[in-house]
Symmetry: C2
Subunit: 412 residues, 2 copies
């Protein structure tokens, strides 16, 4: 029973967990340009409202390894606005900070007397915002040097990997935070398989720590070497925070092969028009007390409505001549109109403010019929749909229709 373990908060870590914020995603899009920024700001507002001890990011904070100046500036502005201020954190870092944090003078921002930090942010990098170039610096190194983020989990080697936990203490609760920024899956898989990934344990009372592991890798994939398997992770871990996968599976699930639970917060903005991204987006409020934890899900209100439908042309009424491009386009337009009606029902406008234009995707099996030009088709839906030119996706018929359901987003 995860949910009834305490009232007193002195020894309860309260942590906002979120990942794959992809700030800067589609930032030049006239309709969706602000979505990733808005979602990230909502995340920070939740952290503020919930008065969490800290925020833990699971990678892909930025959509690009070289964020635009606007994206960098906005992230800095938001972090400075929400995370700096009075109200000293009620926990402390007790590990060697020079080992944990390579930028920022080897200390967490909350430990720098020149900065007044209200909500520290701890982050690993993802595959979208990993270190680049000769300097091997990530955008997170810039944020760390600005005193806005505590960047950890950057392994100096991708062959021999030693994960030194950030050790945090709040009252009597002790949290060992293991972080491993994204490494190419095949390579990390190989390192795990050949015992070249070593998670250090605290020297004293190793069993008295709650062990939280945050990583940013493929969780499921068709090729077994192209993802990390649960059994590759150490069994002493209590909870795994899985970044990179964009579907929000925030409620912790027990691993079938290991003793730990897994939470997968998912992205805060849809970066691909696939089914997994249509699920409600959210963040987790993770509470840890001693060896117990629970996770409360908080859905994001700022997320743009998003509906996916499938349609096979051969199922069209006989009155529709599916051999005519014009007739196909008109028929599909009717279906999209129906989707708009459904969107209005399923996504009522927020109490304050107006509804956002929805993302729609209609996947059309055109077997036996004609296709039409998705971009031209979309012109009728400008100002009604957020992605007018990309509503329609004509698909080749699949031999195994079930395969469709496990299709992964490209490049999450």
């Amino acid at each position: 029973n995860h949910s009834s373990f305490l009232r007193l908060t002195d020894s309860v870590f309260k942590i906002l967990i979120t990942t794959d914020n992809h700030v800067g995603y589609a930032e030049d899009d006239p309709v969706r340009g602000g979505d990733s920024f808005e979602a990230f700001e909502e995340v920070l507002k939740i952290a503020e409202a919930e008065a969490v001890d800290f925020i833990l990011l699971g990678g892909d904070l930025f959509d690009k390894a070289q964020p635009s100046r606007h994206a960098m500036y906005e992230v800095m502005r938001l972090l400075r606005k929400y995370c700096m201020g009075t109200g000293e954190p009620a926990f402390s870092v007790v590990s060697d900070m020079a080992t944990n944090f390579h930028s920022s003078f080897g200390k967490a921002n909350m430990a720098d007397a020149n900065l007044r930090v209200r909500i520290p942010v701890f982050s690993i990098h993802g595959n979208h915002d990993d270190p680049v170039g000769g300097s091997n610096l990530a955008a997170l190194d810039i944020l760390a040097m600005a005193g806005l983020v505590n960047y950890f989990g950057k392994s100096p080697s991708v062959e021999d990997i030693t994960v030194s936990p950030v050790l945090l203490q709040k009252g009597s609760s002790k949290l060992a935070l293991y972080g491993l920024g994204n490494i190419r899956d095949e390579r990390l898989n190989r390192a795990f398989s050949s015992q070249r990934v070593k998670c250090l344990r605290p020297r004293e009372d190793a069993d008295s720590w709650f062990n939280l592991f945050v990583l940013h890798q493929n969780r499921v994939n068709h090729s077994p070497k192209n993802c990390i398997h649960e059994e590759q992770l150490d069994d002493f871990i209590d909870l795994v925070f899985w970044g990179h996968e964009h579907e929000a599976l925030i409620e912790p699930v027990k691993s079938a092969v290991r003793n730990f639970c897994i939470t997968q917060p998912g992205s805060t903005v849809a970066t691909s028009l696939c089914a997994a991204e249509t699920r409600p987006k959210g963040v987790g409020i993770l509470r840890i007390c001693g060896d117990k934890f629970n996770i409360q899900r908080v859905n994001l209100a700022s997320v743009r409505p998003f509906l996916i439908d499938d349609y096979a042309l051969r199922a069209a009424p006989e009155t529709v001549n599916i051999k005519s491009e014009t007739a196909v386009a008109a028929h599909l337009a009717d279906i999209v109109e129906d989707m708009l009606v459904r969107v209005a029902k399923e996504f009522p406008p927020p109490p304050s403010g107006e509804s956002k234009l929805p993302l729609l995707r209609l996947r059309v099996d055109s077997t036996g019929g004609e296709t039409c030009n998705p971009r031209r088709f979309g012109q009728a839906f400008v100002n009604r749909v957020a992605n007018p030119g990309e509503i329609l996706l004509f698909q080749k018929p699949r031999r195994n229709p079930r395969a469709q359901h496990v299709t992964k987003a490209l490049d999450p």
Copy 2:
């Protein structure tokens, strides 16, 4: 008499003035890659040792509008190291900071209770680090949002320009700091000529302020429309800090046409192999008390030795066959050897540490003789000269030899 006006420091502004630090210049060069960083760090060390009230930068802090991640990271690291810390500034900003500082929540970093700033940095932008892209954000906006720099003098319009001073008070001294970040010279010249540049005066006791104007424009040029003329600047100004020109002319000189003095600190790293850049590099320590000021020059010790010489092949001894490429190369190599001897004499090694490889430039008038390949020539000087492949510059003979002396650096 500028130098004997006081002992008490309570009402004396002590300001380090420096410009054109060009951090990141030639950062990939195997020999000179660190020069711009080292010079900028030396500037900050001087500011620390002199315990100045603040640092005033005249633009071109960065060599590129899009600095490399390494350059951005290093500048942030250095600013955080030297400019954050205990020891509250003894002056205050009394103007409307939201008007002065567009980034950083409309306040100077020293006025942000979440930051502990020891030496505030105020900066305008130059032509090398001006705002870019649709967001019109400069690298300085990033530093400002990080709380490391107070970026001012960014005019929202390049047609109608209003300069609102940053008003600073220390004891009884009142300093109005006017800043104008670089604008294309032709355009700014036009704006000045048509009275579309307006410097606002403080409402009360306008005459009780010391007026310091910092700009980053061509000071001298062949075309009268391609620079700013002293008579275009307001006569109420007391001192002009002229950025952009790389020659260090730090000692203030009285304008011939206006009542103000001009100081031109010059760059802290040589970015072109021209005569103006061979002069010793330095910074100014500007003291202002009431309506008086003086400037003390502090030379930089970290600057790489740099020698320029001119040679005309037709002056070679008759034993040298200047029609033979091989003979020319051998002869010029002897001359470069002589230059190396002179460098050793003129630039004795610093008390601690070893000498740096020198920059050498030999400008050769090849009239009547052969040239040789400068890159191949330089191979004999690798590990002895910082710029082996660029020592030799073969020049076309000039009609007017005096023109050579006013040759401007390209793109300072």
